[in-house]
């Protein structure tokens, strides 16, 4: 057996032990592992970030961060789709007896889509507003941790997804820089109509 694969499966089994012991913890995990809780929380945070900032300069920096994060999310999702086209890995619950509070997805385990998109969002806003970046990183961590805990992803899927999230954020930053002055025009137009 490959020791790395053993470590992957062992971590899933170890984390999965925590489920089914406390109804309160199970319900918290049920919320965090969901397709909706963390993505909605992250979206609302970005909405709030768009409206925040003491000065126009500060607000513009944050809004550029939101634009970068949104573009990075799109790139990350695209990278995962491309990767899934060439490589399929079965989910941990196929090979291990685990308690799963989500459902049994049928697509590839590798790379972890939640890790890619949530990390792309978090790093996307990191440079613009550290506190928001940290809050989104915490949400991203909880999301992928509960996914591994429920036997939906292996830790190595999460690492690969996180790598794709980082690549997607770098690509989004470069694209926005190359596209200048279009993002500046877009923000100026939105400012004219008091939307930015």
């Amino acid at each position: 057996m490959n020791p790395l694969l053993d470590l992957d499966a062992g971590l899933v089994a170890w984390l999965n032990q925590a489920l089914g012991r406390s109804p309160a913890l199970d319900y918290l995990v049920y919320l965090l592992v969901s397709d909706y809780f963390v993505p909605v929380a992250m979206s609302l945070w970005l909405l709030g970030l768009w409206l925040s900032g003491a000065s126009q300069e500060e607000r513009e920096r944050r809004q550029r961060g939101v634009l970068r994060a949104a573009l990075a999310l799109g790139f990350a999702a695209l990278l995962v789709v491309i990767c899934n086209h060439f490589y399929f890995r079965e989910r941990p619950f196929v090979h291990q007896a685990v308690t799963n509070l989500l459902y049994q997805p049928t697509d590839s385990s590798f790379p972890a889509n939640p890790a890619a998109v949530s990390l792309a969002l978090a790093i996307g806003v990191w440079r613009a507003h550290r506190r928001s970046g940290l809050a989104l990183l915490t949400l991203a961590f909880l999301w992928v941790l509960t996914r591994v805990m429920n036997g939906v992803y292996y830790p190595s899927d999460v690492l690969a997804g996180a790598g794709m999230g980082v690549v997607a954020t770098i690509a989004a930053g470069l694209v926005l820089r190359v596209m200048e002055p279009i993002p500046t025009w877009l923000l100026r137009w939105a400012r004219y109509w008091h939307l930015a």
């Binding site: 397709d35 909706y36 909605v40 609302l44 409206l51 003491a54 999702a77 459902y103 008091h194």
Partner: protein, 139 residues
């Protein structure tokens, strides 16, 4: 219960949660033109209640951890739900805040650009003045 995706429920969740998020962000950043209530703490509380209430209703009303080939939503449906919910919440916030505080910004001849204008005026007034400026500029 049907086998249709719960897109409607998700949009309702986003609508009320976005209403709450806007109230909190507006209260923290002094955007009076978006607030339903004058008092900062009351606005923060209203925002928190809207978000918590919407989330509680969504997750308690029926099982939500279901795949997208049954009642769950795929990424495109989630994105559409976010756009409709957050867009609707933004529009309703602007209209309701203007109805609740109709005189906000009436006595201010020059309002600041961008979102800063919402510190002193409601959104329909800002929109009207932006339109007037645009029409004046045209030959």
């Amino acid at each position: 219960m049907t086998d249709q995706p719960f897109t409607g429920d998700y949009t309702v969740l986003l609508f009320f949660a976005a209403l709450g998020a806007i109230q909190i962000a507006a209260a923290l950043n002094g955007l009076k033109g978006l607030l339903f209530l004058h008092h900062r703490l009351a606005s923060l509380s209203l925002g928190a209640v809207l978000i918590a209430g919407a989330a509680a209703w969504f997750f308690v009303s029926e099982p939500r951890n279901v795949p997208d080939y049954t009642r769950g939503l795929n990424a495109t449906q989630q994105f559409a739900g976010f756009c409709m919910g957050a867009g609707g919440a933004s529009t309703l916030t602007a209209l309701v805040a203007a109805m609740l505080h109709p005189s906000l910004g009436a006595g201010t001849p020059a309002l600041p650009p961008g979102l800063d204008g919402l510190r002193d005026s409601h959104y329909p007034r800002l929109l009207w003045r932006a339109l007037q400026r645009l029409l004046r500029r045209r030959p």
